[in-house]
Symmetry: C2
Subunit: 459 residues, 2 copies
């Protein structure tokens, strides 16, 4: 067997204990929040039929899907002619010949596939949360990986606006539990977009507004304005619209927008926004964290109602969450009439934000409660008894195995963030005691083995 | 966009809420046990460089590894000649040309790759646990999937037999926590194999014994005997050996085996077995669950010392766990001198066993504590206040969104295994009360909204 110098696949990373501790801390908080709101856990396989994924993410997306090579003699049916055609078209026509499966690219499409397949047996509204990795053949760069986690919660099979309000409440609760203080849930409604597009005179309908508007933060008002002009907007209407946009942080933007659009055109989205707001207040949500924001567009074209996005003001970072109402998602699999609404937590960015704000509590790195150390072979069985007694009491214990150098055991405990060291020498073995050292405080106390577990029982 | 009738990739499955509840129940118990013994969480990416995996699992294994097609114009460098050669060799020579990455096939090799890459910065002995899916292009059949979970715990960088004893203790504790009563941890030591092979007169050394012996349970003694004869064993020695095997359930097999081998030849493995046993007793392990078993071989050729396997006697099932000591695993990546020992839990089989023995407690399916139901729109805000108050107290609440049919809400709660229904009608809204229905007991009680959360606070 040839020895290869080992390396990671490009754009991937190992999750060592520290990174795992951080991710678990975040995921546990999110999971508790999901469960508290009645969402059930759910997972799909890493691989899907290629046909399930193709065409759902646009042309660029199709390119970035990782395809799995068929097993066995996969070239058996491929002709020379097909090979030569593929050589000429940049391998494009070859993929379907040698690959039938692909890796999950997001959580939404496989979930829609599941709902379409199981609609007869599901208990609607079906509320699920899903926290799984996805894979994209993007060019790797700092902070962008080819394998990363997505965390989604969706309600499917209900049109009730209660869910919009509850998902916003969930956002506020979860981000507060994670320790974020200064964040905003931006809220808009896609139903404003068709009347705005009409008033502007855009021929391409609502998506002709959504796509340029989605870039506003990045490219600035002038560029968006120019694009909208090109798309057929009238100058006067555009000026009025951008005047509104410029004031979009004022508290009465909603009223201003509705005034500009006219009561009739704005009636439906306005009523929805107001009902969501009323429900948020009834749910005692801290509405200082929620803001109507007419500049919010969300790029994806499947949104049809309320849309949301979460931004933090404590560090420079794109959105750390987003989502909205969609009416036709399972339609791609031939199942109509199932409206859904969902939110996503940007796990990787949340980890970066929490890192920068130092929001991870120190205890998450503790491997266990105590490291038991014995000086020589003759105390080995006494040490084992101490270990056994602690574990029987539910205490997390590691038993040091690497000889009689106390210094090494200290270093080992420190590297694993184990807060206590229980030291057993000749004297301790004889008197059935241990010397318990608190590593952070540097204090040490001799105590009976039988008393030891009480030091670690959580209040 | 063409509409495809959705289906799962062959050999894969969705994990709906019930399956997830079961898997989480098992994984939480395993994870608690791992942590209690000082193991740290660890994960590797789903994809590895193909060169990392190739040649580690034998020829059959190489075939079963899922390869990922390169992105972009992956045929760009492939010549017509190469295509034709591959057509002739069953596509074998093509794979390396169009694929550089592959899916994780087990947890062991990627872990060895990680240790080899990071040996300079790890705190040895490095104890990690890992619970992740692996993928194999096996022919799917009942109970065999192409995606399934493995759960491993390993200690690497220590030769101490404490770890053997602790891992056996961990096995006993974890399986008991899962609710299994009648199981055995079979223990043997690979160091017996070279002297046995020598005494039998096998020319092929210890693996010439291990490979046939590993099949003993499946094919029976006569077949194994015939194979060993063919491999050069002497008839007399073989008779003696099979006499021992036939008595291998007696309590003094170890002494008999050592007697047959001779004290000198048996000295090292005997001393190791005895020390492990002494440590098990000192660790207060229920040794009625542990048995020396000279018929245990473990097929994999990388084991070098203690080997273990767990079998349950309550249902017919292969082993539900296994592992052992290995000395050269990181050697495949050019890093020698790191001895390790590890155990694996057969997650899928454990789930089957627990299913058959009905060991899953009913509460694991509860979506949340209570479903709040209001009869009409006018009670909506009161219902929201009840929901908010419960959640503020930490209670898991779902707020029913699908109208005023109590019967539908009942059915919904039952399908989600929600144990309580909090009903709010006109009267309740007026008096700030709720009617709390216990669905299992069929009882109902009117209580003040302010008292409600106390019903759900865990003792």
């Amino acid at each position: 067997m040839a020895i290869v110098k080992p390396s990671l696949a490009r754009g991937t990373r190992d999750f060592g204990p520290e990174l795992m501790a951080k991710r678990k801390y975040i995921f546990n908080i999110l999971e508790s929040a999901f469960r508290k709101y009645g969402f059930l856990p759910f997972e799909t396989p890493a691989m899907e039929n290629l046909s399930t994924l193709t065409g759902k993410y646009g042309e660029e997306g199709d390119r970035l899907i990782f395809k799995i090579l068929n097993s066995g003699d996969y070239l058996g049916e491929v002709s020379l002619q097909q090979f030569e055609t593929a050589k000429a078209d940049g391998s494009r026509s070859f993929t379907g010949l040698v690959s039938e499966k692909a890796l999950r690219y997001d959580l939404t499409v496989p979930f829609a596939r599941f709902v379409a397949m199981n609609r007869g047996s599901l208990n609607f509204p079906f509320k699920r949360y899903q926290m799984q990795p996805v894979w994209r053949a993007d060019r790797p760069q700092k902070g962008r990986y080819r394998e990363f986690y997505q965390c989604d919660a969706d309600v499917i099979g209900s049109t009730s606006l209660q869910h919009e309000a509850e998902l916003i409440a969930l956002y506020v609760e979860a981000f507060q539990k994670l320790g974020l203080r200064n964040f905003t849930v931006r809220v808009n409604n896609r139903k404003f977009f068709a009347p705005i597009a009409q008033k502007l005179g855009l021929s391409g309908g609502e998506q002709a507004l959504a796509t340029p508007l989605d870039k506003l933060d990045k490219v600035g008002a002038e560029v968006v304005k120019a694009e909208l002009l090109e798309a057929g907007a009238s100058t006067t209407a555009l000026d009025g619209f951008f005047e509104l946009l410029a004031q979009s942080s004022s508290p009465n933007t909603l009223a201003q927008l509705c005034g500009w659009l006219g009561e009739e055109a704005a009636a439906l989205p306005k009523a929805e926004m107001e009902q969501v707001w009323q429900l948020l207040e009834a749910l005692q949500v801290d509405t200082s964290k929620v803001r109507f924001d007419m500049t919010l567009a969300r790029g994806l074209d499947y949104y049809t109602g309320t849309i949301v996005e979460v931004v933090t003001h404590e560090v420079a970072m794109g959105s750390i969450g987003g989502g909205g109402r969609y009416d036709k998602l399972t339609g791609i699999f031939g199942v109509d009439g199932l409206s859904g609404v969902g939110v996503s937590f940007g796990a990787e960015r949340i980890m970066d934000v929490m890192e920068q704000l130092q929001l991870f509590p120190g205890h998450i790195y503790h491997a266990c409660d105590v490291l038991v150390f014995h000086f020589s072979e003759s105390e080995s069985l006494h040490a084992a008894a101490v270990v056994a007694r602690l574990r029987a009491a539910g205490v997390g214990v590691e038993w040091y195995s690497e000889g009689n150098k106390l210094k090494k055991a200290f270093a080992y405990a420190e590297a694993k963030h184990i807060p206590y060291l229980a030291i057993i020498g000749e004297e301790e073995a004889k008197t059935d005691t241990v010397a318990l050292k608190n590593l952070a405080a540097g204090t040490q106390e001799i105590m009976a083995s039988s008393q030891l577990s009480q030091q670690f029982i959580r209040a």
